[in-house]
C-alpha cells in the first residue's frame, strides 16, 4: 500500500538520525518476572503511571472538547543476535519508551507523543492532541477499570530473561546444520530476534488494559554455488512464542527449508508470461489473501469509500465454499492480540461467510461511523503512531477437495509455494506479488521449478475466481514478517489451504 504518509515514513527511515533496530539487554531484577505471575500495574510500578496522572492527562487532551481520548504507554525491548561467516559476532538491542496521546472528534484525530515520562511532557503532548477540537472541554471518566482479557501467548519465562548463552547455540547450530546439508552452501546468515512489548491503554471512558506481547523468530539465509552460478533463499520460524518453542527440531527444519529452497533454484526456469490458472500452496502463500483481499476489508478504506468493497457488504463476493476470518485469538501466532491498541479485547471476526461479505475490520473510529462495535482491529506500530484498522491473523478455511484434485484440474499453469514483496492498490483492487518459490503445472502434474516472476491480479476478481479449496489448511509459521500501511508496520499472521485461482497474470518471459 503506497500512500503519502508512507513517504514521510520512508523519509524518516532513511534519515541518518533514525538508527533503529536493535541488543541483548540484561534487565534489572524487577523486570525479570514470569509473565504469568505478574500482577497488573507494570507502568505504575516502573514509571509511576497512576490513575490520577492518567486522568489529568486525559482531561488536558479533552480540554477543547472531542468525543474521546486515550493514552498508549509503551515499553519495548528488542534484541537480536546475528551470525555471519560462521560466528555469532554481532548483537543489536533497542529500548523504546514513550506515550502516545490521542484526541478524537468524529473521524478527526489529534495526536501527540513524548518519550519522557514526566507530567509536564505528557501534558504538552496532550495539548497538541487537543488542538483537533475547538469546543467546550469534555470530562474523562472518574475512575478506570482493568479490562478482563485472555492470554493467547502465555510465557513460562520472559525472552529478555533468557540468558544469551541459551540463545547463542540456536543460531550457531542453524549455521552448522546448513553447511552440513550441502557442500554447495557457501554463505549462511543466521539470527535470533526477540521483542518484548509492554503496553498500557487508558481510555477516557474508563478502561485500562495492559498487555505483554512477545514476538520472536529464528532464521537462516543461505547462498549456494553450483557450476559458477549462485542462488539464495532463506526460512524463518517464530511468532509470539515461549523460548521453549525453539528446539533442535525447529533448528533442523529451518536449516532444511533454507537449503532445499536455495538448491532448487539451480534447477528453476523462468515461467511463461501471460494469463493462466494459478494454484496457491497451503500456508505462507496466504500473504496474498492478506494483501489482495484483506486490506480492502479494513473499515477505514471503506468508510472513506476508497475500497472496492465499500458497497459490497451482504453481497456474494466468492463461491459458497469460501470463508475468510480475521482472528486475534489463535494461540501464539504473529497477529494474535489479547487486547488491541485502543483497549478492545482480542477477538475473531468473520469477514466472508460462505461467500458473502459479512463484516469489515473496525477500529473505534470506523465502528462509530458504521454504528457497530469495534471488532478489536485497532492497532498501531508504536506510541509514535495513531490507531488504524489492521488485520490480525487472516485465514481462509479449508475446503472439500484434496490437494491432488486441485492440481489435476490444471492443464497448464503454475503452482506457487511462496510469495514475497506484495503490494495492492486498494481502490482498484489490483495487486502484484513476487513468486520466490514455485513449480510449473503441466497436464495436471507438477513439473519444473520456476523462479523470479511476478503474479498480478485484482483482489475482488481473484476472490471470485477461487474455484477449488483443498482440505490441507496450514498457518504460516514465520515470525519475521510485518505488514505495512500508512507508514506503520505491525505483525500479522495468515493461513490457507491449497487453492485454485482460475486465472491470473504471470509476469514471466515470452515463449
Amino acid at each position: 500500500m503506497k500512500n503519502i504518509s508512507r513517504r514521510s515514513f520512508l523519509k524518516t527511515a532513511a534519515s541518518a538520525a533514525t538508527v533503529s533496530i536493535a541488543a541483548p539487554v540484561v534487565l534489572p531484577r524487577s523486570w525479570v518476572a514470569l509473565a504469568g505471575a505478574e500482577k497488573p500495574g507494570y507502568f505504575e510500578r516502573e514509571f509511576g503511571i497512576t490513575d490520577s496522572l492518567c486522568q489529568k492527562v486525559l482531561a488536558e487532551a479533552l480540554s477543547k472538547g472531542g468525543d474521546f481520548a486515550d493514552l498508549y504507554f509503551e515499553h519495548t525491548i528488542s534484541n537480536s543476535l546475528s551470525l555471519e561467516d560462521g560466528k555469532v559476532n554481532r548483537a543489536y538491542s533497542d529500548v523504546s519508551l514513550g506515550v502516545g496521546i490521542r484526541t478524537v472528534k468524529d473521524d478527526q484525530v489529534g495526536y501527540g507523543f513524548t518519550q519522557e515520562m514526566t507530567v509536564e511532557s505528557m501534558l504538552n503532548a496532550a495539548s497538541t492532541a487537543a488542538t483537533i477540537a475547538s469546543a467546550k472541554a469534555t470530562k474523562p471518566a472518574g475512575k478506570f477499570e482493568w479490562l478482563k482479557t485472555k492470554n493467547y501467548y502465555p510465557l513460562q519465562k520472559l525472552l529478555t530473561s533468557v540468558p544469551l548463552e541459551s540463545k547463542l547455540p540456536l543460531v550457531q547450530t542453524a549455521n552448522d546444520k546448513c553447511f552440513a546439508l550441502s557442500s554447495q552452501v557457501v554463505k549462511v546468515n543466521a539470527g535470533f530476534y526477540d521483542q518484548q512489548k509492554r503496553i498500557l491503554v487508558v481510555t477516557s471512558d474508563g478502561i485500562k488494559a495492559e498487555d505483554l506481547q512477545p514476538r520472536n523468530y529464528l532464521y537462516a539465509s543461505v547462498t549456494a554455488e553450483k557450476d559458477g552460478r549462485r542462488e539464495r533463499a532463506g526460512w524463518n520460524i517464530g511468532g509470539r512464542r515461549d523460548f521453549s518453542f525453539y528446539t533442535q527440531a525447529t533448528v533442523d527444519e529451518i536449516a532444511k527449508m533454507a537449503v532445499d529452497r536455495t538448491l532448487v533454484l539451480f534447477e528453476a526456469v523462468q515461467a511463461p508470461a501471460g494469463e493462466m490458472p494459478v494454484v496457491l500452496g497451503p500456508g505462507v502463500t496466504a500473504v496474498l489473501l492478506h494483501e489482495a483481499i484483506g486490506h480492502g476489508m479494513e473499515a477505514d478504506f471503506n468508510r472513506k469509500k476508497l475500497s472496492t468493497y465499500s458497497t459490497m457488504i451482504g453481497r456474494q463476493v466468492a463461491e459458497p465454499f469460501v470463508t475468510i476470518i480475521d482472528d486475534g485469538t489463535m494461540p501464539n501466532y504473529l497477529g494474535s492480540i489479547n487486547v488491541d491498541d485502543e483497549g478492545t479485547p482480542g477477538q475473531k471476526t468473520v469477514l466472508v461467510d460462505k461467500g458473502i461479505l459479512t463484516s469489515y475490520m473496525y477500529d473505534k473510529i470506523s465502528a462509530r461511523h458504521y454504528k457497530v462495535k469495534s471488532s478489536g482491529n485497532g492497532r498501531r506500530e508504536s506510541y509514535q503512531h495513531y490507531v488504524q484498522p489492521r488485520m490480525r491473523n487472516t485465514i481462509m478455511l479449508a475446503g472439500p477437495a484434496t490437494p491432488k484434485d486441485v492440481i489435476q484440474n490444471v492443464t497448464k499453469g503454475i503452482y506457487v509455494q511462496d510469495v514475497s514483496n506484495g503490494q495492492v492498490k486498494i481502490g482498484e483492487g489490483d495487486f502484484a506479488f513476487y513468486v520466490s518459490q514455485g513449480k510449473m503445472i503441466e497436464n495436471g502434474k507438477i513439473t519444473a521449478p520456476i523462479k523470479d516472476m511476478n503474479i498480478m491480479g485484482n483482489g475482488p476478481k481473484m476472490l471470485q475466481n477461487i474455484t477449488m479449496l483443498a482440505s490441507d489448511f496450514e498457518m504460516n509459521q514465520g515470525g519475521s514478517g510485518a505488514c505495512g500501511k500508512g507508514g506503520q508496520a505491525v505483525p500479522c499472521g495468515f493461513g490457507q489451504p491449497t487453492c485454485l485461482v482460475k486465472s491470473m497474470t504471470v509476469g514471466g518471459v515470452k515463449r
Binding site: 538520525a17 538508527v19 541488543a23 560466528k87 543489536y92 501527540g112 501471460g274 483492487g429 518471459v509
Partner: protein, 440 residues
C-alpha cells in the same frame, strides 16, 4: 548545536569507555516534526512531537554490539551501557570489527550544503493549515465530478544528528525537510476506484512548488488512471517516468554494496571495470548537491565524503564499501551507501522522445515486484499509459516487466532532460527498447 545534545553524546562515550569498552561510537539523533492532513475540508490528523534516540556501538575484546534507546534518563543509560558491555563480551570475536582508521575522517569538505532553512521556526500552525487547505481545494477543483476522496497533507521537520567516536571523530549536521502531497481516489467503471497522488519534498521551503501545482498534479495523475486495462503481451519500447526510476535503480544498487559482495549476494561482484550497461547509463554519487535531500559531509563511519562516479557510460567504476566490509574484503573503503544519486540528464523532452518512438508504454507507477541481488533477475508490476504516434492513448494496469539487470541496462537507449528534484535520487526519465511487457 545544543549543548545538552553534545554533553549527552560525550558523556555516553566517556561512560562506555570507563565501563570497559575498548572503543565506542555514539550518536544522538533528534527530530522535531509536524504532520497535518485534511479530508472533506477539515483536519483529518494533526500530529506533532519531538523524538530523540541514542545509538551506541561498543568494541570490547575484539567483540561488537550496537544498542539504541529512547530512554535517555542518565540512570537508565548507565545500566544500559554496562549491560551492553556485559552482553558484548559473550559474543564471538570478530577481528574485522574496529573503529575506522582516523585518516578517513580527515579532509571533510567545507561547503554549505544548503539543507537548513533559516526560516523554519517562523512557520506557524496557520501557515501549515492554509497551505494544506489550498492543496486540498486545488486537487478537488481539478479532479471534478469523478472524485470520491482527497487527502492532502504536509510534513515538516527539523533534524539533528551528532556522532562521536572514542578515536577522535566528531560530526554534527542539522537539516530541515518539507513535504506536501495529495492522494486522490476517483470513480472508474464498475467497482474500480483508482488512486493516485502527487507530492514534492525539499530541504528549503521556498523551493517547494505551490500547493496548487501539487493539487492539480495529483488530480491529473489520478485521472490518467481512468479506464486502466491489461493489454496483450508485447515487446515494446518503454519510458520509466523520472520519479519511478529510483525503484529500478534500487535493485541494481543492492548488488553494489560491500556486504552483498562479501556475502556472495551480488551479481556485480566481479564486474568492476567492465561494461555492464549501455553508454547512456552513468550514476554519480554526489554528497554536495545544494539543497539535496541526501546531501551530507560525513557518513556513519565518519568518513569525509567525496563525489564519486559509480557507473561511467556503462562501465562499473566503484562499489559502496563501508569500513567493516572493506576490511573483510581487503579492499579500500569508499562509503557505505549513496548520498544523492544522479543520472546526468539528456537533451530531449519526454514529448519529443515519445513522438520519435511512436508506440510504447510510459510507466508512471510500479506495484509489487522484486529484484534478486544475487542473480540480477527482476520482475515488477507496472501501471502507466500506452502511447501511439507520440500521444498517450490508453491507461494500462495489471501488466508486468521481467528481465535481468545485466541485460536490462543494456537496453537503455536514451535519458530525458527531466531530473526529478524532490528526492535524493535525482534521476530523469529513462527510455529502454525491446522490453517484454506482459499482460493478456
Amino acid at each position: 548545536m545544543n549543548k545538552e545534545m553534545y554533553d549527552l553524546t560525550a558523556w555516553t562515550v566517556k561512560t562506555a569507555k570507563s565501563a570497559g569498552a575498548d572503543e565506542c561510537r555514539a550518536g544522538v539523533g533528534s527530530e522535531r516534526f509536524v504532520n497535518i492532513s485534511y479530508r472533506d475540508h477539515k483536519p483529518e490528523n494533526i500530529k506533532e512531537a519531538t523524538t530523540k534516540q541514542l545509538g551506541l556501538e561498543v568494541f570490547v575484546n575484539g567483540r561488537y554490539s550496537v544498542q539504541t534507546t529512547s530512554d535517555l534518563r542518565r540512570d537508565a543509560l548507565k545500566d544500559f551501557i554496562s549491560n551492553a558491555i556485559a552482553t558484548t563480551k559473550l559474543l564471538a570475536e570478530d577481528p574485522y570489527r574496529i573503529l575506522p582508521d582516523p585518516k578517513y575522517y580527515e579532509g571533510r569538505a567545507k561547503v554549505d550544503l544548503g539543507v537548513l532553512d533559516p526560516a523554519y521556526n517562523k512557520l506557524t500552525p496557520e501557515d501549515r493549515h492554509s497551505m494544506v487547505k489550498a492543496l486540498e481545494d486545488s486537487a478537488l477543483a481539478a479532479g471534478g465530478n469523478k472524485v470520491i476522496s482527497v487527502t492532502a497533507m504536509e510534513y515538516d521537520s527539523y533534524d539533528e544528528l551528532l556522532l562521536m567516536s572514542s578515536n577522535g571523530f566528531e560530526g554534527y549536521r542539522e537539516s530541515t525537510y518539507f513535504q506536501a502531497g495529495a492522494q486522490m481516489t476517483i470513480q472508474d467503471e464498475g467497482d474500480r476506484r483508482p488512486t493516485g497522488f502527487d507530492y514534492a519534498a525539499t530541504a528549503i521551503k521556498k523551493n517547494m512548488p505551490s500547493p496548487e501545482q501539487i493539487g492539480t498534479g495529483a488530480a491529473k495523475r489520478t485521472l490518467s488512471l481512468l479506464g486502466g486495462k491489461k493489454l496483450k503481451t508485447e515487446t515494446l519500447p518503454i519510458i520509466i517516468e523520472n520519479w519511478n526510476v529510483s525503484r529500478i535503480v534500487g535493485g541494481f544498487l543492492a548488488a553494489m554494496n560491500g556486504s552483498s559482495i562479501q556475502q556472495k549476494r551480488s551479481f556485480l561482484a566481479d564486474k568492476k571495470g567492465q561494461k555492464i550497461a549501455s553508454k547512456h547509463f552513468t550514476i554519480i554519487d554526489d554528497p554536495f548537491v545544494k539543497g539535496g535531500l541526501g546531501s551530507r559531509l560525513f557518513d556513519m563511519d565518519g568518513f569525509a565524503l567525496k563525489k564519486r562516479v559509480m557507473v561511467d557510460a556503462g562501465v562499473l567504476k566503484e562499489f559502496f564499501v563501508d569500513w567493516y566490509y572493506s576490511r573483510k574484503l581487503g579492499w579500500e573503503p569508499t562509503t557505505g551507501g549513496p548520498s544523492n544519486l544522479i543520472i546526468p540528464q539528456g537533451k530531449r523532452s519526454l514529448k519529443e522522445i515519445m513522438k520519435d518512438l511512436g508506440r510504447g508504454i510510459f510507466i508512471t507507477g510500479f506495484i509489487g515486484g522484486n529484484s534478486n541481488s544475487t542473480t540480477g533477475d527482476a520482475s515488477i508490476g507496472i501501471t502507466g499509459q500506452l502511447f501511439e504516434n507520440g500521444e498517450l492513448v490508453q491507461a494500462v494496469a495489471e501488466m508486468n516487466i521481467a528481465d535481468n539487470h545485466l541485460k536490462f541496462w543494456n537496453r537503455l537507449v536514451e535519458v530525458a532532460n527531466d531530473p526529478f528534484p524532490y528526492s535524493s535520487y535525482r534521476m530523469p526519465s529513462l527510455v529502454f527498447e525491446d522490453v517484454v511487457v506482459s499482460g493478456l
